[in-house]
């Protein structure tokens, strides 16, 4: 597609459940980023991929969060044992090389009840 695509757009889950959020980056973009944005705040960095490998995962808040990008294109953010504090909009972005500006998807709004 023409832009960064994220699915689902909305996800409601019960506390303690496992969720997967998907990101399809712009074709050919080698760099992929995951961010989390709470209401009224700026995006908070989670993890950055360059190709298939995680170049920087220092933003993942704890070991319940994990992300993969096995073929260097689509990425999945996985959250285990969800907590109410995980509720936020999860944004994915991609860029051509990591040096150019990043293009953001529409986000997945995760609500943990």
């Amino acid at each position: 597609g023409a832009g960064v695509s994220q699915t689902p757009s909305n996800k409601v889950t019960e506390k303690g459940k496992y969720v997967e959020l998907r990101c399809d980056p712009i074709s050919g973009h080698t760099a992929l980023y995951w961010y989390r944005q709470s209401l009224g705040q700026g995006p908070e960095f989670l993890i950055y991929f360059q190709g298939t490998g995680a170049a920087d995962d220092s933003g993942l808040p704890n070991d319940r969060f994990f992300a993969v990008r096995p073929e260097g294109s689509v990425s999945t953010l996985k959250i285990q044992r969800t907590e109410r504090g995980d509720s936020a909009v999860y944004l994915c972005a991609s860029s051509l090389t990591g040096l150019a500006g990043a293009f953001f998807g529409q986000g997945t709004r995760l609500t943990v009840v």
Binding site: Y33, Y35, Q41, G42, P43, E44, F45, Y48, Q50, A55, D56, S58, G59, L91, A93, T97, G98, L99, A100, G101, A102, F103, F104, G105, Q106, G107
Partner: protein, 114 residues
């Protein structure tokens, strides 16, 4: 650790007026981005500033970068209602030598009133 601070966080302007939003960052970086976000929407890239002294303009918005002062400004000229949005600056963080992730400020919520 790289920190990015924007001010003001809230800005209410009248149409036709000028104003400047400031973005300070704490460690050396030579790349800075400005984004716009409308309520309930994702982030739209406005400017990429790649070197000291860089200045870019698009319509009523002009962004500049002073890497020595670790400061970027976003200047709004003759504001119109359509500029109402939240504006974020983001700075590249180097980590382990990689060309790394963007660290965002908290955003400036701009409201332009008639």
């Amino acid at each position: 650790e790289l920190k990015v601070e924007q001010n003001p966080l809230f800005l209410s302007m009248q149409e036709g007026k000028n104003y400047t939003i400031y973005c300070n960052y704490s460690t050396t970086s030579d790349r800075l981005y400005w984004y716009r976000q409308d309520p309930g929407k994702s982030l739209e890239s406005l400017f990429v500033l790649l070197s000291n002294g860089a200045v870019k303009q698009e319509g009523r918005l002009m962004a500049s970068l002073d890497t020595k002062a670790r400061l970027s400004t976003l200047h709004i000229t003759a504001a119109v209602h359509d500029l109402s949005a939240t504006y974020f600056c983001a700075v590249v963080s180097n980590y382990g030598g990689s060309q790394g992730n963007l660290i965002f400020g908290k955003g400036t919520k701009l409201s332009v009133k008639p």
